[in-house]
């Protein structure tokens, strides 16, 4: 029983990481109606930046905050200089740009920091504090994820800027007519998604180790989470992340074995798309005219 509980709790911890990645995907999806395939590689690159700063002797949390800030600015820059020029182009063009970004970030990380696998430190103490049920890193990851989610909720729900960002993603024309600077809101959305991705990357790196391909599997789980929760519903995507995390862990431990874990994500993706494409909590928009 203890072992089972441990699998569930550990699943919640990785689920938090999937939730963060899913949330980043949903944020981009809401304004572009496309899945940003480069989201994982952007997060990987942010993690490398944090690693490089830590290597230079910077304390972990300062490197953490700086990496998030750099990712925020970097995300904004990517939208302004790369995505915005193609925003009126066909879907295929944008998808190709996403895949191009993926390849560029992957190659740049290997070029700058080599392809050898590196150990990324966990900021949480190694000596167990919570007994055998949950490791400190799992507990810390869960805590960081929850803080991020709460901050995002407050930002989007209660601040004028958050409201303007939601409005700009939903209805750009009307947003312009109330004075919202829509193109900056979209850029800020990219910045936030990149920052959330950076946090997810730094939380997962101590588990999967740091290398240019570390986010490949994570992005798949994140995509499965977003689809399961409903790709247009940020809170559904978060819940989807936790569900996928627990399912993956429990099924991996008791049913299919760890080698086939990634299959869980793929099965979820196919199942959701065939059975319920709007996901568990995908919004059905009601409009009366």
């Amino acid at each position: 029983m203890d072992a089972f509980l441990h699998q569930v709790v550990a699943g919640l911890a990785t689920g938090g990481i999937y939730a963060a990645v899913a949330l980043a995907l949903v944020m981009i999806y809401q304004s572009t109606h496309l899945v940003n395939f480069a989201q994982g590689e952007m997060a990987m690159f942010s993690t490398y930046i944090a690693w490089a700063m830590i290597q230079e002797g910077m304390p972990y949390w300062i490197a953490f905050v700086l990496a998030v800030a750099i990712s925020l600015v970097g995300g904004i820059a990517i939208q302004r200089f790369i995505i915005r020029p193609v925003s009126n182009a066909s879907v295929l063009t944008v998808v190709v740009v996403f895949i191009g970004l993926l390849a560029i970030f992957n190659a740049m990380a290997g070029w700058f920091w080599s392809h050898t696998i590196k150990v990324f430190p966990s900021p949480f103490p190694e000596k167990p504090v919570f007994g055998k049920l949950i490791s400190n890193h799992e507990m810390g990851t869960l805590g960081v994820t929850l803080v991020v989610l709460i901050l995002l909720y407050v930002f989007f729900k209660y601040t004028p800027l958050g409201l303007a960002m939601r409005a700009a993603a939903q209805n750009p024309i009307s947003s312009r007519l109330v004075g919202v600077r829509v193109s900056w809101m979209l850029a800020l959305g990219w910045g936030l998604a990149a920052a959330i991705g950076a946090i997810a990357g730094m939380m997962v790196a101590p588990i999967v180790y740091l290398d240019p391909n570390m986010m490949g599997g994570i992005l798949l789980y994140g995509f499965a989470s977003a689809l399961l929760g409903g790709i247009d519903n940020p809170w559904g995507a978060v819940l989807g992340g936790f569900i996928v995390g627990v399912l993956e862990n429990v099924l991996g431990a008791y049913v299919i074995g760890t080698e086939l874990k990634l299959t869980v994500a793929l099965v979820i993706i196919v199942a959701v798309l065939t059975v319920k494409p709007s996901g568990l909590f995908g919004k059905v928009i009601v409009t009366r005219v």
């Binding site: 004028p160 409201l163 303007a164 939601r166 409005a167 939903q170 209805n171 024309i173 009307s174 947003s175 312009r176 007519l177 109330v178 004075g179 919202v180 600077r181 829509v182 919004k283 928009i285 009601v286 409009t287 009366r288 005219v289």
Partner: protein
């Protein structure tokens, strides 16, 4: 009287299709100008051209300042609110959030929140539905919301695109009564586009008649109302 908005030789086109062929009109400070015309005359395009939502040529002067070529959001920030064609409701947001967005460009947040309550006093129906998703409102309620959202800006100039469209006569009367009240009390100037010519001429002080992108007649509302051709073609008696 001085003009708040002065438009000269305004042309507008969607791609290759030219819709406005050099129209000129003006709105007095505190005045209401109506633009009348049949479907496809270019009424909605005129409003879009004023806030740079279509490609334009010509001169647009707001309070002595040239505004053509400015970004839509910057024109809005100069005090031009627009109740667009199709109402422009943020359907997934609540009524309250729609109104808060209306005042988004304002710096005086406390007065902005007070204005939200004023809108609920003006349109009690919106107050009853303040936490409801705006997409679930009826057409009339969404029209009230569109007008309220525009007023939340405390605009100098309100651009109204067919406020009577698709509404029951009783509601139309209510909305037009409120528009007159806002014009009198808050000194908001208005540019009104309407198919319902009789209604528009009752509210407006000046009117312009558009036909396929050209002004074919202009004058005070009274002059237009008494013109035989207008009466036959647009007022129907």
């Amino acid at each position: 009287m001085t003009a708040l908005l002065e438009v000269k030789n305004l042309e507008a086109a969607y791609g290759q299709t030219k819709v406005l062929h050099g129209i000129s009109f003006s709105i007095e400070v505190g005045g209401i100008t109506a633009i009348l015309g049949a479907n496809g005359a270019g009424k909605t395009t005129t409003l879009r051209a004023v806030c740079n939502m279509v490609a334009t040529k010509g001169e647009i002067v707001l309070g002595g300042k040239r505004i053509e070529g400015l970004a839509t959001e910057d024109i809005v920030r100069l005090g031009v609110a627009h109740t667009p064609d199709g109402r422009g409701t943020f359907v997934q947001l609540s009524v309250d959030e729609n109104l808060r967005l209306g005042g988004y460009a304002r710096a005086d947040k406390a007065a902005m929140l007070a204005d939200i309550d004023r809108m609920y006093a003006l349109f009690p129906r919106l107050g009853e539905r303040r936490w409801q998703q705006a997409g679930t409102l009826s057409g009339g309620e969404q029209q009230m919301l569109a007008v309220s959202r525009a007023l939340m800006l405390r605009p100098k100039l309100l651009l109204l695109d067919e406020p009577s469209f698709g509404l029951a006569p009783l509601l139309v009367r209510e909305i037009f009564r409120t528009l007159r009240q806002i014009n009198k009390e808050d000194k908001v100037s208005m540019l009104l586009v309407e198919q319902n010519a009789a209604l528009a001429l009752d509210l407006a002080d000046h009117a312009y008649l558009l036909e396929t992108g050209r002004v074919v007649m202009s004058g005070t509302a009274a002059e237009i109302k008494n013109d035989d051709n207008v009466r036959r073609s647009y007022l129907g008696y």
